[in-house]
């Protein structure tokens, strides 16, 4: 049987505010445990929450960026459940009247199509603390869990999509687009390894073409695009196996273990949580007026779609390059700095997507952690474009910049003797010498009629030439001289 895959996402986005959503405690990452958990965060008796203006500002900016209606009047509710990392015994969240109403995001897919994913709503809420299930014991030797409440009360927006995605690729493309939007807005640092964005994936299958949705499962807390893609593939396969064996899907929450590529049930709907939501009596309705919305609109920076269009227009990049370089705000800024110094946009784009990205990935670094600057890469681009260094030589320069051996492109080229020989007279002399030593190959080349094969045979001369020039001969010029000397 053929199946349609139906995917909806819930995304928790940690807002990059200085303080928590309901208290003046710092949200800085990496502090000593519980040094940023104060009376309000700990739910001490007699404390009252006061909402953070920036949390609302960021949520409204998000709403404007995804073409959504802004909730003029938003209300906080209590979602009641017990867990040690939730000191109040409830999470303060929004249900009936969220800050961001229906909107949409357009996502460019690899096949060139554009997919519109509708946003159902986005609401403000507080994050919980962290439980550490390590080796703590009480005096009787019973295992204990350690609780760090620094994260408790960190503002989140939870973005809920409509079930508009039909494959893992679409879901990941949407997730990347959302990442790109919130980081471009500057409302989230986007650092997924630190949990700044976490994805819950709702998946169901239905017979191909049917308009009746199947029973869905929810896979929670995926914190990388790769895990998300794997978890979807895994869950689709699991559901397909059950359905094709005549079984039925149970509505449940599942946990995916990315390291082992397996999932397990966390809780089923039958025993599901009854959160007993009710309006939080500690908080009055928040009213957002036109001035507040207009102010948020003024703060909107260039968004990924606009940036992509500009990159095509201003730098002459193709759709693919423009898409890749405009998505991440920091990468886009790095690219623009490189072009500012390096002039040649296409060459800059190639180096950023090639050597630079490969190196970042290999060392699991973000653009912000790059040891080289866009200006340095730009200087290198200039030297590649004016033929001072060959691409092989440029890689050596890049390496020296990256390792911090030296921070000046020209100084590295001098110190390592990477300057290409582009003096035609000197190169011609080398070509003459090499050809004189390879009469058989020269004859073979000249007897070959197929231009393709001839072109291939040129490579046989390049090795000795590069050797003769100690790697410093300009390969492009060598090539031109060779073709001329060999008679076309």
């Amino acid at each position: 049987m053929q199946w349609d895959i139906v995917i909806g996402l819930e995304i928790h986005v940690q807002l990059a505010t200085q303080t928590k959503i309901f208290s003046g405690s710092s949200t800085a990452y990496g502090a000593e445990p519980n040094t940023q958990a104060n009376a309000v965060d700990l739910a001490m008796p007699g404390t009252l929450p006061v909402p953070n203006e920036n949390a609302f500002r960021y949520a409204v900016m998000f709403g404007l960026a995804v073409n959504a209606e802004i909730g003029r009047r938003s209300v906080f509710e209590r979602k009641n459940y017990f867990y040690p990392d939730l000191p109040k015994g409830y999470q303060t969240t929004q249900l009936e009247q969220p800050i961001v109403g229906p909107g949409y995001v357009d996502v460019d897919l690899a096949n060139g199509e554009t997919k519109r994913v509708r946003i159902h709503h986005a609401h403000l809420e507080e994050d919980a603390g962290k439980s550490l299930h390590e080796t703590f014991f009480d005096e009787l030797g019973h295992g204990m869990s350690g609780i760090d409440l620094n994260r408790a009360g960190t503002p989140l927006i939870e973005v809920v999509t409509e079930p508009d995605m039909n494959s893992a690729e679409e879901a990941v493309a949407f997730a990347k687009k959302l990442h790109s939007i919130v980081t471009s807005l500057g409302i989230c640092d986007g650092d997924m390894s630190q949990g700044s964005m976490r994805f819950d994936v709702n998946i169901s299958l239905k017979p191909k073409g049917s308009d009746q949705l199947g029973t869905r499962t929810e896979t929670k807390n995926l914190n990388s695009f790769r895990f998300m893609e794997q978890a979807i593939a895994h869950e689709v396969e699991r559901q397909m196996d059950i359905l094709e064996d005549g079984g039925r899907i149970i509505q449940e929450t599942r946990l995916y273990n990315g390291d082992r590529d397996e999932s397990r049930s966390m809780r089923t709907k039958e025993e599901a949580n009854d959160y007993r939501y009710f309006p939080c009596p500690d908080l009055l309705p928040v009213v957002i007026d036109d001035d507040f919305i207009e102010d948020a609109r003024q703060r909107l920076p260039e968004l990924p779609d606009a940036r992509k269009a500009r990159f095509k227009e201003q730098y002459g990049l193709n759709d693919y390059d423009a898409g890749l370089l405009s998505g991440d705000a920091k990468l886009a800024a790095f690219f623009e700095e490189t072009v500012e110094h390096g002039k040649d946009a296409k060459l800059a784009a190639n180096w950023i997507q090639g050597e630079f990205s490969a190196r970042l990935n290999a060392e699991e670094k973000t653009v912000a952690e790059s040891p080289i600057t866009g200006a340095q890469l730009g200087d290198l681009v200039v030297r590649i474009a004016d033929n001072t260094v060959s691409s092989a030589g440029a890689k050596k320069v890049f390496e020296a910049l990256w390792t911090g051996e030296n921070d000046n492109v020209d100084a590295i080229i001098d110190a390592k003797g990477l300057k290409q020989v582009s003096d035609t007279g000197a190169l011609e002399a080398m070509v003459d010498e090499v050809l004189a030593g390879m009469p058989d190959q020269v004859a073979q080349y000249q007897n070959e009629e197929d231009p393709k094969k001839r072109k291939k045979m040129l490579g046989g001369f390049m090795g000795p030439l590069m050797k003769a020039s100690k790697g410093q001969g300009n390969p492009k010029l060598f090539n031109e001289i060779l073709v001329e000397k060999l008679g076309g």
Binding site: T19, S25, E32, L42, N52, A55, H142, R276, P279
Partner: protein
């Protein structure tokens, strides 16, 4: 309006309150009375009244995003039953 034994047991579990069998019967009666009282409100005509989230006719004040709290971990942990390495310790939670 009455409340069933099952409802009481379920609410007790959700609220993490231990309720004995004998107590359930008494609670059935007490909670039933409270619900009857609430039911009387349904008699009021509310067609022209908008549902409200808060009894006060006021809007929430927002706070500037500035750090105002300092680290008082020592004071808070002094009244905690168990702490270690700066963490609050609780009986092991296993999912």
């Amino acid at each position: 309006m009455s409340i069933s034994r099952e409802d009481i047991e379920k609410v007790a579990v959700l609220a993490r309150i231990k309720v004995d069998d004998e107590q359930v019967s008494a609670l059935e009666k007490d909670l039933g009375n409270i619900l009857d009282l609430v039911d009387q409100l349904s008699a009021a005509d509310t067609d022209s009244v908008e549902p409200m989230a808060h009894p006060l006719d006021a809007v929430q004040r927002l706070r500037p995003d500035e750090v105002t709290e300092t680290n008082q971990r020592e004071a808070f942990q002094a009244i905690a039953p168990a702490t270690e390495d700066g963490l609050y310790l609780v009986p092991k939670v296993i999912e």
